[in-house]
């Protein structure tokens, strides 16, 4: 009886991929995901907005101009700054989470999920109210007597990183919490019993063990912060230009598709490069 079973098991539970079941989503992805992305790459190799003259001019114009190279650097720096800021807040929250009882844990998960499920547009809107000249932060600072003139926070990189930290923090927390929860508490007790301080225990035991969760979180935060069009354009304003705004402006305002395609492929490749860098970090940490 048992020998005949593998041939009879339910769809997909066998040893082989059931291509009939994979086909619908697979074909949709081929036609509507891979197809358009290949088309995007193709269009970037045209020189004019009528798509009549193939050539490298759009690529040359993009990479030959210091302004556009600066936009790429700024976009990646924004991603990295957001990863750094979310890391700084996510670890303490993770430690408190692991040390709490089930009720507090459940409350914390709701606190993390609520902003995640709230539209990015709403969260960006909230930060306008917070960062404005007469916003929450400036009013608080003035009330405390820490400053007499309101600080300029909107349309600055600092304000944008603050907003993105809140917007992306749940993406860092969810994978990090999953991994931190699985760390054996005995290891921490052992480290403490052997005389290590709490700081040393954190940096030598907890931090290395939680790296896989951090990598997963950092990847999501980095990709999301680099492409956060609404937050970048509303909080960054016209003075701070990032790749998503450039893509939007070139395609929907200027209608120069090849140039927009060059910017979009550049965004795609640089985010992927950033992600593989995080992956390499993980491998390096594992072999160490």
């Amino acid at each position: 009886m048992a020998i005949a079973v593998p041939a009879l098991v339910a769809p997909g539970q066998g040893e082989r991929v059931d291509w009939r079941l994979a086909a619908p989503l697979g074909l949709v992805y081929l036609g509507l995901f891979a197809g358009p992305l290949l088309l995007l790459i193709g269009i970037s190799f045209f020189e004019d907005s009528e798509l009549a003259k193939p050539g490298l001019a759009s690529w040359r114009r993009f990479w030959g101009d210091a302004f556009y190279r600066g936009v790429v650097v700024d976009t990646l720096r924004l991603g990295l700054l957001t990863v750094a800021a979310t890391t700084l807040l996510a670890y303490p929250l993770g430690l408190v989470f692991c040390a709490s009882g089930p009720r507090v844990q459940k409350a914390l998960i709701f606190i993390i999920l609520l902003p995640l499920l709230t539209s990015v547009v709403i969260r960006t809107f909230a930060w306008i109210v917070i960062l404005a000249r007469e916003g929450v932060i400036n009013n608080t600072l003035i009330a405390l007597g820490l400053t007499s003139t309101p600080l300029k926070l909107l349309q600055t990189e600092l304000g944008l990183v603050m907003a993105l930290t809140q917007i992306e923090l749940p993406l860092m927390l969810l994978p990090l919490l999953t991994v931190m929860r699985q760390i054996d508490p005995n290891l921490i007790d052992a480290s403490r019993a052997l005389g290590a301080s709490r700081w040393r225990t954190f940096f030598r035991v907890l931090l290395p063990l939680s790296i896989p969760g951090w990598i997963a979180g950092a990847t999501l935060v980095f990709a999301s912060a680099c492409t956060a069009f609404i937050s970048q354009s509303v909080i960054g304003g016209a003075s701070l230009v990032y790749l998503p705004a450039l893509i939007w402006q070139q395609s929907m305002v200027v209608y120069h598709w090849p140039f927009a395609a060059v910017a979009a492929v550049t965004l795609l490749v640089s985010v992927l490069a950033g992600i593989s860098l995080f992956g390499a970090l993980e491998r390096a940490a594992r072999t160490r």
Binding site: L8, V9, A10, G12, Q13, E15, R16, D18, R20, A22, P24, L25, Y29, L32, F33, P36, L37, L39, I43, L89, A90, P92, L93, L95, V96, K106, F110, I112, L113, L114, P115, L117, T118, S119, V120, I122, T124, A126, I128, V129, I130, A132, E134, G135, Q166, P170, L174, T178, R181, D189, S197, T227, F229, I230, V234, I247, W248, W257, L267, L268
Partner: protein, 273 residues
């Protein structure tokens, strides 16, 4: 295990609590600020508001004065419902096709089906616009459904695959050995067990479609306007306080849905935590 509390331990506890407190504040604060601001009497976005009223909610629900917002909300709901329905069906099938298969082909399929979660979907939004435009299609809600389908299916795929991995294969084997057909086994054994995972994924996919910016930004226009894009327009031009009222409605709806979904399918457990 009993050690003296050293200054280093105290500094650790202080830094930990300060940063964790700041983390909670930064997560919750903005949501609360939006909610409170939405009840302002003023036409300016000041916090704290000078006085409280439901003025902007009345304005928001006024059929004539907020007609364009109502149209956008209707479009958004329609696209999200259709895309979630189609996406759930196809993602569940795709997850079934590779569950418990340990071959390179299965790993490759899994990675491709999850890729829209990591790839910058903004580039994809532009790419899909180019495809539809070159094929000569005029922008319509159907194209938005197709665009959303690609970016929201991974949510269902991921939770369904996770539920399938936890499914005990001996259940399927005994069902089969008792003579049940493959489809009967799926309907009576597999589906009831994975249903909560599928539902949680569908919920996340639905929310992702409602909130979607990168694809709607390129595929929607004045006729097929979508709510997040409309709200962005309202924020860019006049800082209309109705944006706060829309946010208030959306936050309330999401909060209720979250609590319902958590009761029904254990949403919080399925978010990986």
């Amino acid at each position: 295990m009993f050690q003296r509390t050293t200054p280093s331990d105290i500094s650790y506890a202080v830094v930990l609590r300060l940063l964790a407190g700041l983390g909670v504040l930064i997560l919750v604060g903005p949501v609360l600020i939006v909610l409170i601001t939405s009840f302002t009497t003023s036409a300016a976005l000041k916090f704290p508001p000078p006085d409280l009223s439901v003025r902007w909610y009345v304005e928001l629900f006024d059929r004539t004065r907020s007609a364009h917002i109502h149209t956008a909300a209707g479009n958004t709901l329609w696209v999200a419902s259709v895309a979630t329905g189609l996406g759930t069906l196809m993602a569940v099938m795709a997850a079934l096709s590779i569950a418990r298969v340990n071959r390179p082909a299965a790993r490759a399929l899994e990675a491709s089906f999850l890729s829209p979660l990591i790839l910058p979907t903004l580039a994809y939004g532009l790419a899909s616009l180019m495809l539809f435009a070159l094929l000569g299609f005029r922008p319509s809600l159907y194209h938005l459904v197709l665009g959303h389908l690609v970016v929201i299916s991974p949510f269902v795929f991921r939770t369904t695959l996770a539920s399938l991995t936890q499914l005990d294969p001996s259940l399927l084997e005994s069902s089969a050995s008792l003579g049940a057909s493959r489809f009967y086994t799926f309907r009576r054994i597999t589906l009831p067990i994975i249903a909560p995972g599928v539902a949680a994924g569908a919920f996340l996919a639905f929310i992702a479609s409602i909130d979607n910016v990168p694809v709607s930004l390129f595929l929607s226009n004045a006729r097929t306007s979508m709510l997040p894009i409309r709200m962005w327009g309202m924020m860019e031009s006049t800082l209309d306080v109705r944006v706060a009222a829309i946010s208030g409605v959306l936050i309330a709806v999401i909060l209720i849905l979250m609590i319902v979904m958590d009761r029904l399918v254990g949403l919080t457990r399925r978010m990986g935590v």
